[in-house]
Amino acid sequence: MTAEASPTLPRALPTAKARRERVIERSRVLRFISETEHQAIGLRFVVTALVFFAMAGALALLMRLQLARPGLHVVGPDLYNQAFTMHGSTMMFLFAVPVMQGMGVYLVPLMIGAKSLAFPRLSAFAYWTYLFGGIFLWLSFFMNTGPDVGWFSYPPLAGPEYAAGKRADVWAQLITFTELSALAIAVNLIATIFKQRSPGMSLDRMPVFVWASLVTAFMVVFAMPAVMVASTMLALDRLVGTHFFNPAEGGDPLLWQHVFWFFGHPEVYIIFLPALGFVSEIVTTFTRRPLFGYTPVVLANVATAILAFGLWVHHMFATGIPQLGASFFTAASIVIAVPTGVQFFCWIATIWGSGPRYAAPFLYVLAFLATFIIGGLTGVMQASVPIDTQVHDTFFVVAHFHYTLIGGAVFPLLGALHYWFPKVTGRLSDERLGWISCALVFAGFHLTFFPQHILGLHGMTRRIYTYAATTGWGTLNLVSTIGAFLIGAGLLVVLINLARSYRSGMAAGNDPWQGPSLEWHYASPPPRMEERDVAIVAARYPLWTAPVGKVVGLEPREELITNVIDAEPSHKEKNPGPSLSPFFLALATSGTIIACIFTPWGLVWGAVVIALVLTLWYWPRRSEVDEHHLSEEQP
């Protein structure tokens, strides 16, 4: 195992490890489950999330069909209640957060010029856990054990006395799967962004999307544990007889609401902030201008993330809480509009007089601007306690959160998919289909959700499977249903566009949009870690300013670690390469979680298996240890 003379050829791997890797290489299945490269994991997250998006969307169409006219019997109450629970839970836990994290996993290393994530095997584990959780939820649904308690599962309805069977337990454990996955990715992104940026990329030179991912990851760290604790409390109440939410023994249904919404409000900003990051990137590229107000925009992201933790009680304004306390949360819920407003103003200032290029990504950004602002304004309305006590739990709220989630997250996501499609696939998508899909989705969206504001004000409450003809709600509901199908059509066009272009679109090259950031420096699709160089940057918009340098002296599987603030080179770390351990750990974890639905002993036996798998994962093998990495002393 002598070192080769040339610094660019890969060092010969110790033979036993090389042998094992060649075995893995030859089997497609083993290669698939041992993958740890960030592009592959990121792509898997995004594609899986989009599949769940389609499934939840199908449930939405089913619900809209049921509500299109009064007194229909398309589905009965039981299936309808499962449908809205599955729709909400899938959208929030299996689509919105994973897709944003997946985009981060794919893009962040490229944008900071790193070769990989800080903990590649952990990211693979996160993906498998997420996938198994999603499959578990939907299999339960198809077996008629789908949760029917709403996506935020309030006890006592979800508690042991009123939720029969295992449906609510399925929901509680879905949380465990998805939050484990989200936390693992958050840890990864923070460590990667802090420690693996290219030399020269000081914090104030990071792309805004990277800032957004960093801030979002911290929100995940402080919010997700709350829902983990809440779902554990619910599972314990149901499984072993604790009394967290039982008022007869000093427990409290409102304890659930506090703990859940402490997570639940930051959750929507966890979904929203990365989308704002997309918008900043797209606006920069398509106006061919540096973003106006980089520092205020970054600070606005940070401020939004911090404020997001101070709003949660606004979900509880109808529970009879004291007025003084409620006013604090009104103030906080109103103030959070300011940093978002700042970002809006900076984007418009960037766009002003730039003569932008109206390609699909930019169109979706315009759709976002016109739509999200309405959601933000109805949000300010609901921040007011008196107004909220009328519109809470009505279709007004449903309209509001779809305006903010679809307008504020899905539109930027669609723009981002079209924007980075050439980078991921090496091909351009069809511009005309891009325009058509954007128009359809935009028109369909407003047709679906604008009438729902009016329906809510006219008394239509949420989560009802039917309504009387005498309410007069029939016409607007019909309009809303038509709009929903229009959205479906638009999304279908997106799918057709991207699928066809993937197969036969025009070749894109490295940088079809003339973007400023490092991901456009690499080939399309980006090369694997062994063939990628760590970059050196000297400016905030490296591709627009100066030639991008490269780091030499790294082995193909070595990653460069740099300092947190100024990104000076610090030391090197070895990337472990492909590994089967994450997949098996995810299997062990999934088995444990599912067993916990049926018996608390599942945790005990599962812990034993997990400990074994982790130990095997960690234990160093002689074949993997590179000769000159050995420490001076040996046992």
């Binding site: 006395e161 007869a248 700042v342 003569g355 005498t470 309410t471």
Partner: protein, 321 residues
């Protein structure tokens, strides 16, 4: 089915609903203005052409940058001021709503069940207390103090035309004061998802002048109307002999269970099954025969009563005005 009641927050008939409507109008006006200004700026910005002294990939010249900074700064300041104004408006309205004192208020106790409203008008003299379901009568212009609690899961009391909603939480009683300022019939619903038949947990509020209200109260205080015909008499004996008495009370008979809605004056209500079915003999009959048909999942079991007996039972209940 009798005519539907008004059910809109935009058509207030009560003090709170009126104040909230005015606040909402203020917010709406501001929102429309903000939308026009911001979107207007965007549209104008899109139409402006790039200056010649600005090559691509570089930021605007310093004079433009300074001007933009000033505009963005001013816009942010205006945003802050506007939001503060909105906040103050909200707090002021909140105070006004809370100032509606329950002095000489009529007390009504409402207990939420899956999927019906148990309504009690308490009285110092226990024989004057009234227990009913679905249809609540309140006097015009007098504050009504609703004491709300749930028997099982979380529900929410909401009559949009009259005022705000309030959750009914087990173990946590809550008080909501409303005042109706216009006579009429107003519909409400449960506004917190509470299970299978959440959609069909409706209620009706009838607002009438004090005199008519007192008349209604007197009628409600009376024990159940005695059967006037042989068939009604037979219907009552069917009621008392069957499972109905396990859950339902009729004051003036031996039935006093409080598990289900009180039926003493069920014939006087504008609808049955919490507003799902009209109040006529045929609907009562089919409801008792198979409640699951109208409200799948409802806790009331099938009647298990023969056809002839069912006819008479329905006749009897319908007579309980």
């Amino acid at each position: 089915m009798s005519d539907p009641g008004a059910i809109s927050a935009l058509e207030p008939a009560g003090t709170q609903a009126e104040q909230i409507r005015r606040l909402f109008d203020g917010y709406l006006g501001v929102s429309i203005l903000v939308f026009i200004l911001v979107m207007g700026a965007l549209v104008v910005g899109l139409r402006r052409e790039r200056r010649e002294d600005e090559p691509p990939h570089e930021e605007s010249p310093p004079d433009v940058m300074k001007r933009k900074a000033r505009v963005v700064g001013s816009a942010t300041a205006v945003t802050v001021v506007t939001l503060v104004v909105l906040l103050v408006m909200s707090v002021v309205t909140g105070r006004a709503l809370a100032s509606l004192t329950p002095r000489d208020a009529l007390a009504i106790e409402i207990t939420g069940h899956r999927w019906w409203w148990d309504v009690k008008y308490p009285d110092a003299i226990s024989s004057n207390a009234v227990r009913t379901a679905y249809e609540i009568h309140v006097p015009l212009g007098r504050p009504v103090e609703l004491r709300l609690v749930s028997h099982d899961v979380i529900h929410s009391f909401w009559v949009p035309s009259l005022g705000p909603k309030r959750d009914l939480i087990p173990g946590k009683p809550s008080t909501l004061v409303l005042r109706a300022d216009r006579p009429g019939t107003f519909d409400g619903l449960c506004a917190e998802y509470c299970g299978l038949q959440h959609a069909n947990m409706r209620l009706r509020v009838v607002v009438e002048p004090e005199r008519e209200f007192q008349a209604w109260l007197t009628q409600m205080r009376a024990p159940a109307r005695e059967p006037q015909t042989e068939r009604e008499e037979h219907g009552r004996s069917v009621f008392l002999a069957g499972r109905c008495v396990a859950c339902h009370a009729i004051v003036g008979t031996t039935a006093f269970a409080a598990v289900g809605p009180d039926l003493t004056h069920v014939g006087s209500r504008s609808a049955i099954a919490m507003g799902t079915l009209p109040n006529d003999v045929r609907s009562i009959r089919s409801w008792i025969e198979d409640p699951q048909h109208a409200k799948a999942g409802v806790i009331m079991p099938e009647g298990g009563i023969s056809d002839g007996d069912l006819d008479d039972l329905a006749l009897y209940l319908s007579s309980l005005r």
